[in-house]
């Protein structure tokens, strides 16, 4: 959805070559702003990632250098956190897709007959956006705590070991990530499924294809652009998230993700080079994964 928005080539048809001074006036403030507060920060992050501590300097004092070892150091120290981040983010993305697809299919295809109900269901899907992300996560923490009805119930039914916990475990973190990013998955899926021409599904049936074959060979390919947008919109924020994995929220001692490590290095121990090199690694891995994924799924025009 968001990713295809810049790619459309309407300008060529609509715009005869008009005064480029006006274009410059319209573009300059915003572009300058982004250069100053998006691009320059990225560059300064790269520079920081190579800095070295000042000899005899205070904590948090660094000087410009070209210290490659910062990268090997953080990979050695936090390799586990890096792997965990991507593992959790991939799991959350898969669960969010499995959760959202039938939901988006019902709202976008089945509910077309009742536009009002369709719109109300969409409002319910985006409703979580209107209440603080942090409070939602804390609500789950209470609802799934050891004393909660759900967990005591599961234990009473022997579906969970009596001394087991849910909050603080990797499962809880993946659950939280999945829950928090479901609307990002459902909305782009809905946007493509809503435009799905159901006559094509009928044609599949008329040609004696089994429903599952029709779903696999017609519905899925036609909704591919929504799947790709949803996966990216879920995976990217999930990989960088540090709320769910935080110990005060759904995480525990063994669940810290890259975001947690970047935060504690930057804001607590003032180890700016380590935080910066971790950020660059996170961004680089995401860019590589996104490019490969978009190429593989055959929707290159999205970027």
């Amino acid at each position: 959805m968001a990713f295809s928005a810049f790619a459309t080539g309407t300008a060529q048809e609509q715009a005869p070559r008009r005064k480029s001074r006006i274009a410059l006036f319209l573009l300059l403030p915003g572009i300058l702003y982004l250069v100053l507060f998006f691009l320059v920060p990225l560059v300064s992050l790269v520079l920081t990632s190579f800095q070295e501590p000042i000899v005899n300097g205070d904590i948090g004092e660094y000087q410009t250098a070209f210290r490659w070892e910062n990268y090997t150091d953080v990979i050695g120290l936090y390799g586990e956190h890096i792997l965990r981040s991507f593992l959790y983010a991939i799991l959350a993305t898969i669960f969010a897709l499995l959760f959202s697809y039938p939901l988006a299919y019902f709202i976008g295809v089945k509910a077309r007959r009742w536009p009002l109900i369709q719109n109300l269901m969409l409002v319910l899907v985006i409703a979580p956006f209107f209440i603080s992300f942090l409070l939602r996560t804390l609500a789950w923490k209470s609802l799934l705590s050891d004393e909660s009805v759900v967990i005591t119930g599961l234990k009473a039914l022997s579906l969970m070991a009596p001394d087991a916990h849910f909050t603080g475990t990797p499962a809880a973190v993946v659950f939280g990530l999945t829950y928090n990013f479901i609307p990002f998955m459902t909305l782009p899926l809905y946007a493509t499924l809503e435009r799905l021409d159901t006559r094509l599904l009928e044609a599949g049936g008329d040609l004696y294809s089994r429903p599952f074959t029709t779903f696999r060979t017609v519905t899925i390919p036609l909704s591919m652009s929504g799947i790709v947008s949803g996966v990216l919109l879920t995976f990217i924020p999930a990989a960088g998230d540090y709320i769910n994995a935080s110990r005060d929220f759904l995480g525990g001692t063994g669940t810290a993700m890259m975001g947690n490590v970047i935060e504690s290095n930057f804001l607590v121990t003032l180890n700016y080079p380590a935080a910066a090199s971790l950020s660059i690694i996170l961004m680089a891995v995401i860019l590589v994964m996104v490019t490969v994924y978009v190429k593989r799924s055959g929707t290159e025009d999205l970027l």
Binding site: A2, F3, A5, F6, T8, A11, Q14, A15, R17, R18, I22, A23, L26, L27, P29, G30, Y33, V35, F38, L42, S44, L45, F99, P102, L103, Y105, F106, I107, R113, M121, V123, L124, A127, P128, F129, F130, I131, S132, F133, L134, L135, R136, L138, Y179, P183, E194, R195, R199, E202, F212, I236, P237, G240, I243, I262, L267, A275, A276, S279, I286
Partner: protein
Amino acid sequence: MLGEAVTAEKPPLRARRLSWGFGSWLLPAYTIIALVFLLIPIAYTFVFSFNNSVKSNIVWRGFTLDKWANVCDKAEVCEAFGNSLVIGVVATVCATILGTMIAIALVRYRFRFRSAISLLLFLPMATPEVVLGAGLAAEFLTAGVEKGLVTIIIAHTMFCVSFVVVTVKARVSTLDPALEEAGRDLYGSPSQVFWRITFPLLLPGIIAAALLSFALSFDDFIITNFNAGTTSTFPKYIYISAARGIPAEANVIASAVFLLAIILVLISQVSSAMRRKRLAKIG
């Protein structure tokens, strides 16, 4: 965003039901369960805003309206909320102006470095928030800028601009250039054409973009945390007090904001449904 998706043209309805079992009752039942699941934490937050809690708000201690009546008894909650409102409004105004100008330029004008500019607009949306936050914080650190309200506003404006561009651009590309041409043919000055024709037609898109920006800014925690210094915002207050327990007053504010937002969305839905009906009658 929502409005655009909803008013899009739909292919004709199929007459026959799909024959596979997935369609009959399983899917509607699943949808209801899924929607209820999405709403559980909201209901929890809302219910616990009426809790007669003492310190932490975890155990139910009976119903009270006290917290709603005296939200600002917890001064830090109200102060954080006030900061969030100020930041949200200022960042929204800045991002909406900058983003709308870019959106108009992108659709209406041809210029060099077009793909570079598109990439520059796309990247902030594809960058994880930790990286955006840490990058800005590193820049402020190098430049020796003290972090506070201003640095939060700068940060929020930055990540909202791209979302404004996407939202407004969708609206600009649906605009018929013939309308503006007609204005010019009737001897309208460029500024008259813009303010009397272009701007009113763009307004729904601009309003949608502004609401989106405000929502993004108001709920942002990660980028804020890196650039706030000692300044508190509503999400930051919740993060800090999570360890010792959130007061019910925070639930009150979150619930009130939620109700307000839902009412606004429902009003816009109903009014657009009524407009469609009117248009259908004329047609």
